[in-house]
Point group: D2
Chain length 500, copies 4
């Protein structure tokens, strides 16, 4: 209903009603204007109708939705199922071109615009969450693991490029390049979450694992062994090391890596540094570490999951950096097109949240974390367990199950069983860890897998307070955990040792 059409509408309706209707319609256009000119989250979230209407406009700008189009290419975004077409709002061309992930597709102006806006919005969201150093961010339509692979491969490509320049060699010189030097090692402070470790192997690189150490100040925390990292670098020679791959968000009693110290090491040795900040956007602490690390040392990129931080379905990651050129390198590395779905999800979500909704969610998560800690402390008291002392991790916490181990006479399988007992009672995400198993992934064998350290021995259960969680989740957990514990004790505890 542009001006001309509103004028025509006055032949059906009194002018004043049309005018007020026009004001309302104009509100939509003003909101879009603000989005295009500010490139930021709207202060208040948009409603669904506004979001759908905007996506529909964007889709109309894509060639597959042109009326009377003659499509004679091999890729014309024809969609067979109307159900599929609808769920993508008519967008079909994905994002990216053969040249670059962030490149504009001539056939898909609307999709291209959407992607650029989404990247701008997510950068704003990261800054609102406290990531002040982020200068550029790109949403990659792969989950965190593959996004880490892309970052590692981008570092490899830079290394290759540097070699080429140094040696004046080209791909054509065949055998000559054989002798070329290539950085193959990735220093990886151990954290028992498979994805990041596998990313190193997927990229065809060689991991060097550095075990964490117990916090010297007496708490239960497992912290980065910075000296160990330095030793690892020197063991293979800094010239052979591609980068350090560190981690912020993690399960207690592991705490975020000392990324500031690691950034200083990276800088000192002239090696890369990528941070797996999977669900760290929601943590003020992780954000603070990244800001400081980027200030004092080297930090090529930090990678965050879209589903874990922004409450969208699994499928995307955000690669961000204080170094715009590195983000561009990742974008340029990506071969060909990619699904727009994870980007559309995030675009919708950020528009729907708005600045107010997003900051409120972050604040509310911090509150729930506090609530969860207080509740777990009481659970511990009531049940004779112990809440591990892990300052420094403001997302995950852990209840020691040492007492249970004693009660059942050290039967690890029995303790492990608690986990599936909880799952059957619709508790999801409570992770029971019994540090006794050994696991081999690719070329590396980890002792006491799951506990992040071959020195760990105490079994425990993890609980996290992640974004979107409510106190109801905690309340339900507490009730069911205590019931499950009682059931477990009935089944497994030898009478003499039971505490309650």
């Amino acid at each position: 209903m542009d001006e001309g059409n509103l004028k025509l509408a006055q032949e059906f309706l009194p002018e004043e009603y049309v005018r007020q209707g026009g004001v309302s319609l104009g509100g939509r256009a003003r909101a879009v204007r603000s989005l295009l000119s500010q490139r930021q989250l709207p202060r208040q979230g948009w409603n669904e109708a506004s979001i759908s209407a905007f996506l529909d406009e964007l889709a109309t700008m894509d060639s597959n939705n042109f009326a009377d189009r003659a499509g004679v290419g091999e890729r014309e975004a024809r969609v067979f199922s109307p159900l599929v077409a609808r769920r993508h709002f008519g967008l079909g061309h994905g994002v990216g071109r053969s040249g670059e992930l962030a490149a504009v597709q001539p056939k898909a102006a609307g999709s291209s615009l959407m992607y650029k806006l989404a990247n701008a919005l997510v950068l704003h969201a990261l800054r609102l969450a406290g990531m002040r150093v982020a200068k550029k961010a790109i949403i990659v339509p792969t989950a965190t693991g593959m996004a880490l692979v892309l970052c590692l491969l981008a570092l490899c490509a830079q290394d290759e490029e540097a070699n080429r320049e140094e040696h004046g060699s080209s791909a054509d010189d065949g055998g000559a390049s054989e002798s070329r030097h290539a950085r193959r090692y990735v220093i990886w402070p151990r954290i028992d979450q498979k994805t990041a470790f596998k990313a190193i192997l997927t990229a065809g690189l060689t991991p060097l694992v550095v075990e964490p150490r117990k916090c010297p100040r007496g708490s239960d925390a497992l912290v980065t062994d910075v000296d160990g990292v330095r030793a690892a670098i020197e063991s293979v020679g800094a010239d052979n090391v591609l980068c350090i791959l560190s981690t912020t968000s993690c399960f207690a009693p592991r705490t975020p890596d000392k990324v500031v110290a690691l950034a200083e090491l990276a800088s000192e040795y002239g090696i890369g540094h990528v941070v797996n900040n999977a669900y760290g956007v929601q943590s003020r602490r992780c954000m603070g570490l990244l800001n400081e690390a980027a200030r004092v040392g080297r930090l090529d990129a930090f990678v965050q999951s879209t589903d874990k931080n922004f409450m969208v379905p699994v499928g995307g990651a955000v690669v961000a950096s204080a170094n715009k050129a590195f983000v561009d390198a990742v974008s340029l590395l990506y071969p060909g097109r990619a699904s727009a779905a994870p980007i559309v999800d995030l675009f919708i979500t950020l528009l729907a949240m708005g600045e107010e909704g997003w900051t409120e969610l972050l604040a509310s998560r911090a509150d729930v974390f506090g609530y969860a800690q207080a509740e777990l402390a009481q659970v511990a008291e009531r049940t004779g367990l112990r809440l591990l002392d892990v300052r420094g991790n403001d997302i995950s916490m852990a209840l020691s199950l040492d007492a249970l181990s004693s009660e059942c006479g050290g039967d690890d399988d029995a303790v492990t069983m608690l986990g599936s007992m909880l799952f059957v009672r619709s508790v999801s995400g409570a992770r029971v860890v019994v540090p006794s198993k050994t696991k081999t992934i690719g070329p590396v064998t980890f002792a006491h897998y799951g506990s992040h350290s071959s020195a760990s021995s105490e079994p425990y259960v993890n609980v996290a307070a992640a974004i979107g969680m409510t106190s109801t989740d905690i309340d339900r957990f507490v009730v069911r955990f205590e019931k499950t514990l009682a059931a477990w004790r009935k089944a497994h505890a030898s009478p003499s040792t039971s505490t309650s």
Copy 2:
């Protein structure tokens, strides 16, 4: 409405009506039963309501949709926007685990089941299209380019593994592995479509480009220079060659690579062989080549685009092989989770097509190709152009623009302009190629980029008959092409040379 509920419904309605309603409801369950037990496309496509209902049931099996769930993990598939949740039918956990792309997620039984069914359906669809050798197929939630990267990295990992076994080395031996041998070269018969070439670079490998040659039998076709491939292998030593990356579906006058001969070479030299079969599923010819190649030589995997063959939005690819182990290797290589969106799209689409719809689409595409050729021949006659003689490519065709080049006195820019003139007239996908530009991608410089051969000189325009295209597209193209040509001639042709 299970039996018990239908019984209760009889207190509201006459028994006979409830019974007939129950029969209709039972039809849905029978269709699901058939799907689960046959693992094949239904003969007739399902309607939207049945597909939605089944997806809804699958989503209900995922833990994020359990009633009264207590979610205390860091990843609970909470979705902020109801609009986003709906478009994913309530599925939020994506596919894959840290261990493997095809692994079952305990938190997401429904998503996991959906993925397994989708893989079974796509294998059936490939076989119906004539790909008899396919033994296993997996839908990867990345487009063709990244899927090729995964295949290349999987070959690297196999090579690495083989080295490890040979040398007894492990990741821990630091400097020792430095001296290890690694296959770095990928032999690539040139085709000027950037994605596959970039995939080699993204994987950190070194491409060796082999130019095609003119068909010796006098036609315009550009065919694989098999001797050139052999020479390339020998130039670096077969031990240094990871694989041949060949191509089937391509733009005329390029024809599908001689994958049979290449498979024999791969077998002879003990090197890998991956086929970029991007949109070749719709081509009987491409399918035939793959069947024969797998029979007589080595063919590790063939990769096909989901959007180009199955009419879904960009975002997925199918990695298939006669060698189940290789498909498993790709699945195992993938680090972490991934978007389920491309899989859901294909799942919906295959259910909606059914066997009848799918085979009909394939047949109709072949008809449209014939129609397009006949029409273009007439266009050529009417306009004084020449239809290139390219037997062997049953998807793409090309009209020589040599006449135009003469008319405008060899002004390449003028000829190139024809492309944007067509695009402005809503002709999309008609690709004007003027073989005069040089392009550098990574370490390689290509002469006459766009024409697949540094020996090409004749400008032309491509037209493809891809799946889902109708004769209306051709009719519109013909009309607009002739109008555009007239406009072009008015603007660019020198009076003396114009033909019509």
Copy 3:
């Protein structure tokens, strides 16, 4: 994306792509412009996205969707369930005001505009179907029965008004009006479809039923007894007769009423005439009768079902007339607001059909009717039944079941059973009529109910060729009918009498 926003988009995308996107967006606005200025069906139907976008714009013009609204009335179209809001595209205020059905609602400019457009479109659709005399049409959000009640009550109100003017009486004169004359009779040529007859009773009026007679020209057709109608009028005195309520579309062997002759009678006697043209829009014959009747006699209104003619869910009717004032009277009679749902359904459908789709549907229905007749003639031959000779009904046909009656020794229940046997085999709409039952509705008792005539005795089964039906329906019917007949004969026919 107005001009200003497209300008801003150029900071993200090359100008040419934005421009072409803008052209596509402009196409939507042009289509709306054409709709508002032409007030006719678009030549080609709109696609779903365009329809949804337009409804969304209309909804945005309704006050319940104004941003930052302060709603302090008792009726603010707040909708609790987002699912409900979405299915109504955000429209909540319904149509109509306390004053008039077609009045503009100040709170709902968009809904009001939609209603006016829908009425214009349906008038155009009626004309395209051949109803040349229609000058005004209004979609009432009640099905045919209640729409007939409204027409009858509007005639009553006119009568009342005339009385008031004549006698100078007003409502305040209490007892005086008691003696006033009021027309209470409705002459109704019998047709055994309950709704219209009940409408007379619902309106508080008294029906005078006139039986049809056998066609004098020897066919099986039941035709209007015009002399009987005249006699009925005279029996109670024309001054006491409110109107004739005649019927066009009907089940064979009943044929459309002789509305031309009835219109002449109505004119002669100065009484009203309303036509129940329930599903007659799809019949050229019914349309022709109405055109002629309006030309030569009196025809206050004709009422048609939206679901039976326009393929929407049950819920609306169209009141049309050559007399604009009468349509306005119906609109003015309606007390208060009403559901917009049936109007939105028709609005969407007419936009989706377009002129081409609508005329094609009408033509295709006529074809299917011819096909059905030919097929039923063959069924009759094969099965020893007789196709009734009913020229004059171009929608419904009938196969005599007299043979079956003989075969089972005149067991009416057995013949009746054939109907439910068909229904169980998923044949719906095949109506088995055995003229033997008596039925009382309100004050009237009908002999041989279902057969339209107390003189009927031959059982038969009806089949109709209604809009949207395909030859597949007929083919399925033929197969199942013959199977069912065979099953029936096995169960019911005495061996000696069976024909096949």
Copy 4:
């Protein structure tokens, strides 16, 4: 996913995951079981996915969704537009049969079941709101006005029936019935809301208007003149009176009619009594009046709007009664089918609310009413206006604008203008009443229309606290009202008289 299919799923997934998925699926079936057996609102509302899935199951039970159906009737619920089909969840047959609104449609078992359930749910909702006397309720798919018409016509039909029985007359006796007695008068305590008054006229009946009187206890309230009602009955003779049509929910300073006293009168005189309880479900006070009235006197039916009480789009009304037979009579009166849309809306909404949601909404509305009163009292104080003293109306309140009238020298148009000034500022529903206009509707002329009384003279503005309203609405209203008032005063008040 019935048992058999879950079993098959175990060939794809570990049994334990399938089992837990099965438990989740079973939850849906259990919820349906509870609904069918309890016929009450679920305690907690269902989520959208569960509601959609259930509607989908119901639709599958309708014949238009049977697979392989042969439809050969004239009404087969074929739906042209998939967009329309989807928004009705595949339901197409509407509700009702020619026989009765609540009758089961053989072709539409699912729709029929849905309607019966919806009626049961709404009865439960009425009781939860305090309407203890309701024994039966039916949702009619027309808004309040037409629902009142139906009730009046049902009373007429009962009267007719009684006459017929008394006189032994039948429809066939022509002239004889002429002399029959018919009750034509409806006693209507004046309330200036057009719909109900028009309903009397639409039904062809004669209204007798009884003006309210000022509350004798000195407040501003306008209350029912019970003596006036008695006088009106006697003026025309009780035998000529069909019924009293009273009103509960209304705009202040009008208060709910004294329905208890009126019910006693109705009982005493043997006349009908219908209550227009348009938005009274949300008022404890209205509910209490109805309970008491039904206990001590005659109350045939009370009619309530679905949109005003249950937050659905306009389109339905609930006819309820302590007298089941009367509700059945209304259902039996309805001729033919009707739109299911308003019923589906209410069905969805009641399932989504659940008992908890519904009672919470009612409680919250009462709170907002209190809040609004307190706020308006402060507004009055700040602006020199007066909050009318209207005890007895717990939904609507009124601010006297007498001060403004004085300020502008009694310029009624100026005072009226305040209303449109508010509307332009997105305040909707604030009703400015200036008791000076005369309005004629049908045969009756009302003095001071809008103010409910020809004796009213004080201008005022109404504000209502209706269900779904939030304190934000009030807050916005207060701010804008005061701004608007200031603007009004600037424009209209003569300097000497302005108060603030």
